[in-house]
Symmetry: C2
Subunit: 388 residues, 2 copies
């Protein structure tokens, strides 16, 4: 029976995600890394316990929409503005330098332009979620460097999603056309500007409508419908669905229902989001990392990981305020996390990034996600005892 | 694109569910009635906006599992025991009388024995959720009659789920075999006894294991995995998956994490459960209710509704304690709600109940669900002003 297979699949996916996530957290790492590893282990590459059928795939896609909606809700335009030009400078450097470095490395290795663009784009990502989580765990969320990193990560997220829209659009049209890029860029910017204008001007009207609902779960379900509708709209005009979900979160982040929506969305995200990360891990082809196999990509993965880390550390140098430490900012920008996986996954879905290169990119994401929390803990070590 | 179709389908289903649920609540009715009507309207019978594909079907099935898990969590063995023999007597009468009356009516109308058994079983249902919700809304949850109704509804739920297991098993084996019924009855009883024993003896061990997890969402996800595993186990030994989910809820209802699990499960249920009720409504064939059509079932539906209401009022007569009012108990047992739909749906899935009779049963469920809240409000009218 099909439903029985789904039940067993969900049990294995959720159980593996939580056990591996738990183990990683006890080792001082982030849960997302455990979820990725869990996917690698239960996936076809190792144990082959679970097959990604239509329903599991759909649940994973809904999971990543919910994640981006949550990230949008956590993003705060006001905080971003208060973090000032310093955060924006770090974010721009944190997009331009990794993109250029990734593009240059891949071109130098002889890959086609579009592949180099996708790899460069993947390296631009910064995971707001992981960075914020690590800083919270260290009790350093309100450190000057932490504020800059958070602000920069938010801007980086927006720039990254724009980049993703452009890159995905280019992959869909099949050619690097300047006119196409400009058109897609304009569409993306218009879409996000409309979202920001709605956020600033019309969000209270929307919230007023939602607030009038009294039935159980009305707030959460109507917010989720709003996010799904924005995702469908983004997809309909040719952008990625996650951009719509992010924009919906951004709109609601400016309203008084934000905290309530976040609070009620959290349990749903707790269940749905790991499904995404596990299925991402399930896509890793370990065989591609065998250094003795023909066409091995382990060297490429390690070279890309070095570039990925070094280029974000360079972004930290954009800090010019004397009271803000540069190292924590640079290291805080390093984890690519779910955003990097979304980029790599979009490249795979667009058939631009081959499976072996995709696996290499997942390894890069895993290395950056693994290194940053441990490194930040070392940087902040003297302060751990006084953490809130 | 398949995912785009799912997005649009989910938006329509959730939006229709919440708007219709909201409208019904404002009319003093229960949200579940609105969700059913919403399904009728957006389904193939009327507007044809949404098609129940594989993914939507799977989400609805997960929704009903989550609902039964929630009902199990709300069920309280201790409260049930304190409500005493009176509640058990009402519950037994509330199962035996409607079953006999429904079976007799259908047999008299010339239906085969198995069909009459399924209809009788459907009439035994009582919706703990709806009854508890209505009593809460009226501020009368701790009324003596309310305690008896709640206790009886819990026993009724267990008896009903046993009945469903027996009836589904009979449908699967294709014949009314006394040996088969006994075997299934024993399997059901053993399964629930094991669940109760675990609840009483081993639940703290389970909770100790869950409580040691620290990662975000660990409590909810591990509880949900437990419910899914119990559902898969129940299905594996030949019972309905919902019985497993209910048993899992019953086990966790005895532990100190119950409140936390309920609280975190609620937003997930808010999103998932309406999907089930809407897809149930989508299965209604309005044409079967046309009194002028050949093979019309409207007369059957109305006769069954009268039997359904009268037989539960008879159960109220089993109240013998002088301090407890009989009418609120009888009326409180009337709403069939989601449990009745599960029975009718199981009959449809087993190809025992035909589509036109299924539609008639859904109408019976809707009438009983519609009548009870209004009737209870009338019975409790003088006390509304002093409600907590």
């Amino acid at each position: 029976m099909q439903f029985h297979e789904l039940l067993v699949g969900l049990i294995v996916v959720l159980l593996a995600a939580k056990l591996a996530g738990e183990a990683m957290e006890r080792l001082g790492q982030t849960a997302v890394l455990g979820e990725l590893l869990a996917g690698v282990v239960i996936g076809p590459g190792v144990l082959g316990l679970v097959r990604e059928g239509d329903v599991l795939h759909a649940l994973a896609e809904l999971g990543v929409l919910i994640l981006l909606f949550e990230v949008g809700l956590e993003s705060d335009l006001a905080k971003l503005l208060s973090a000032g030009p310093q955060a924006i400078l770090v974010a721009v450097a944190g997009v331009v330098v990794p993109f250029a470095a990734g593009y240059a490395l891949m071109s130098w290795l002889g890959h086609p332009g579009l592949v180099a663009v996708f790899v460069g784009a993947t390296l631009t990502a910064t995971s707001v979620g992981i960075t914020a989580r690590v800083l919270t765990d260290l009790g350093r969320l309100h450190d000057p460097a932490a504020t800059v990193v958070l602000g920069a990560a938010v801007v980086d997220d927006i720039l990254g999603l724009l980049t993703l829209a452009v890159v995905t659009g280019v992959a869909a049209t099949g050619a690097v056309s300047l006119g196409g890029i400009a058109f897609l860029g304009v569409k993306s910017v218009v879409f996000l500007i409309v979202a920001v204008v709605i956020a600033l001007r019309r969000a209270p009207v929307l919230v007023g409508l939602i607030g009038r609902l009294q039935a159980r779960g009305a707030l959460l379900v109507s917010s989720l419908v709003f996010a799904l509708a924005a995702a469908a709209a983004a997809e309909w005009i040719g952008l990625a669905a996650i951009i719509g979900a992010f924009a919906a979160g951004l709109i609601l982040s400016r309203t008084e229902i934000r905290t309530q929506v976040e609070e009620r969305l959290k349990p749903v995200a707790d269940v749905m989001v790991p499904i995404f990360f596990v299925t991402v891990g399930m896509k890793v082809e370990l065989s591609a990392l065998n250094p003795f196999a023909p066409g091995a990509q382990l060297g490429v993965a390690l070279a890309l990981a070095v570039v990925a880390i070094a280029s974000k550390l360079v972004a930290g140098l954009a800090v010019y305020h004397p009271g803000t430490r540069r190292w924590p900012v640079g290291v805080g920008m390093v984890p690519r996390g779910e955003v990097g996986l979304i980029f790599a996954g979009a490249g795979l879905a667009a058939a631009v990034v081959a499976h072996d290169l995709y696996s290499a990119l997942v390894v890069v994401v895993m290395i950056t996600t693994f290194v940053a929390p441990a490194w930040l803990r070392i940087l902040y070590r003297p302060a751990v005892a006084t953490a809130v």
